[in-house]
């Protein structure tokens, strides 16, 4: 199962068409004509939106007419796309973790989890590597660069 390269090319072009349309609609109220001698606030955005929409129609037509053999192959094998999701979804979870746990704890869980589940490393190894990496990051950003990164309950426990 899976979708063809050509289909994705077409669908993305359609999506971009609507982005262009949204840009045009959003800038319409700002004044898309000339105000006195100078273009209004909406002048450029409106035309940018128009060009995006027009060009995306061109891409969509090209995608439909494209009969080259590469265009008719799968955009991505499902087995490979699963790998992409296996990175993308944990990354989203990691960012969610930053909000609640702070960046250091979330990073430690992220590395250890990734090593354990994707790399089949032993728990001990996973925890050692993630702990070490996060310790280095903590030292670098809190003491060397003095860039405050988001912290959570664990850091609060130690008074940070």
């Amino acid at each position: 199962m899976g979708v063809l390269y050509r289909t994705v090319d077409f669908l993305v072009a359609v999506l971009i068409f609507f982005v262009g349309l949204a840009v045009m609609i959003e800038s319409y109220d700002l004044g898309i004509g000339w105000i006195k001698d100078s273009p209004g606030s909406g002048y450029f955005p409106f035309r940018i939106g128009a060009i995006i929409s027009l060009a995306s129609i061109g891409i969509a037509v090209q995608a439909l007419l494209n009969n080259a053999s590469e265009a008719r192959t799968l955009f991505v094998e499902w087995s490979r796309f699963k790998l992409v999701l296996a990175v993308f979804i944990p990354t989203a979870a990691y960012i969610l973790g930053i909000v609640f746990l702070g960046i250091y704890v979330s990073s430690a869980v992220f590395i250890a989890g990734f090593m354990r589940l994707a790399g089949k490393f032993k728990w001990l190894m996973s925890i050692a590597v993630s702990g070490g990496t996060v310790a280095i990051l903590f030292w670098l950003f809190e003491f060397e660069f003095l860039v405050p990164l988001p912290k959570g309950p664990l850091e609060a426990l130690f008074g940070y």
Binding site: V8, D9, V12, I16, V19, G20, A22, V23, E26, S27, L30, W34, K36, D37, S38, P39, G40, S41, G42, F44, P45, I48, G49, I51, I52, A55, S56, G58, I59, Q62, F75, V76, R80, L83, V84, A86, V87, F88, T91, A92, Y94, I95, I98, V99, I103, S107, F110, I111, F114, M115, A118, G119, F121, V129, T133, L137, F141, F145, V147, L149
Partner: protein, 504 residues
Amino acid sequence: MDNILPLLHGFSVVLTSYNVALMFLGILLGIVVGVLPGLGGPNGVAILLPLTFTMEPTSAIVMLSCIYWGALFGGAITSILFNIPGEPSSVATTFDGYPLAQQGRAGEALTASFSGSFLGALVGVLLITFLAPLVAKFALRFGPPEFFAVYLLTFCSFIGMGQESPMKSIVSMMLGFALAVIGMDTMSGQMRLTFGWTGLMQGVDFLIAVIGLFGIGEILVTIEEGLAFKGKSANLNPKVVFQTWARLPKYWATLIRSSLIGCWMGVTPGGATAASFMGYGIAQKFSSRRDRFGTGEIEGVVAPETAAHASGTSALLPMLALGIPGSATAAVLLGGLMIWGLEPGPLLFVEHKDFVWGLIASMYLGNIVGLIIVLSTVPLFAAILRVPFPIIAPIIIILCAIGAYSVHNSVMDVWFMLGFGAVGYLFKKLGFPLAPLVLALVLGDKAEDAFRQTMLASKGDLSIFWSNGLVGTITVLAIVLLFWPAIVSLCRRMRSPKLGQAVP
């Protein structure tokens, strides 16, 4: 030769122990960035840019530009040892570099590529030293109409000279413009394209876009292609280095050709990637051993690397002299200038002599330091690549997240980064070029301001863009470049009508 004195002054600015330490740090980080898939010149610089907000501009640019040189050097290591280009600009290096490594001649290939890179960069810096001040002096006469015409020229040449489908280049660039528009309009104070959402009122920072598109997007593409790092080992010792150096002068013609191609492609925004392919192609055409290209020719390694470095270096010429970046990394550096409170453009050469000449001096030193470091530490960096991907991948993602967060200290930006990552993955797979998007995002506001100021001055008369020889020439040149592919194919048809009929 009135450029020598300011250059010497530049050396005196750069040669403090602090700046030299930053230079070493920059080169080392740059090589790491260049070696790792998923991290490249543009996003490596973008991730580290927030750390330099409080630094002195000169020290900051010395470190960041050294990351750039390091990344260019590092890309060649993975190409030759692992057959995996660490940077798009080192794809052509794999053609002959990897076969050489398979034959056990990795040391020669690495030495040749580093030395070629060094020479290419040197030509690029010499060009900057002598040409940039002249261009800047000339550009001091520019007013808003001329600047808008130059911006137009840049945008048009990206579309006309780009390697990808022109339609996709246009969409990519226009999306960049649309992103640049988001937030408050500097001229009227109105909020634009925020769709009533407060999260967008600050605008979208180009750093977030670069980190997401290039960093996260690249990781996703890499993981999908399923890379296995089974590399060749490098036998790099002084004997091999000197033997290879002794053979390099034989390729003087290739070195000169590739340097010139690189400089041309760098100053006009053709990019290092295009330059490296062109360098390789032309070297092959002129070589007496052209049949053996692709099977492990030293010349086939020297040619693309020289061109890529010459182009990467000379891409900074228009950035310094005109405020127009010649590559994605140069665009990020340009954004950095604005953050440090410097106004890019010809006035830099007048008002911030220390900064400009310090940067130029650091290019000479940075490339020498870079050559020495890469030659002596290749095994170390090759070892980094043997670290399993399940360890490397989350660490790269974490570095991207930290970089994105620290731009405005906001987690919202990290979510935007993830969104840009998904877009970057799709765009890479579908052949949308990313460089025009970044360029438009960085320059969009300035181009619009230049246009509106021009219109205010001319009372809305568009013919101001043809009003004098200077601005007229630039405008016409821009339009010619935009339709360059069409013009070329038209000329071909007129010359050989039979061929024209055969091609539908």
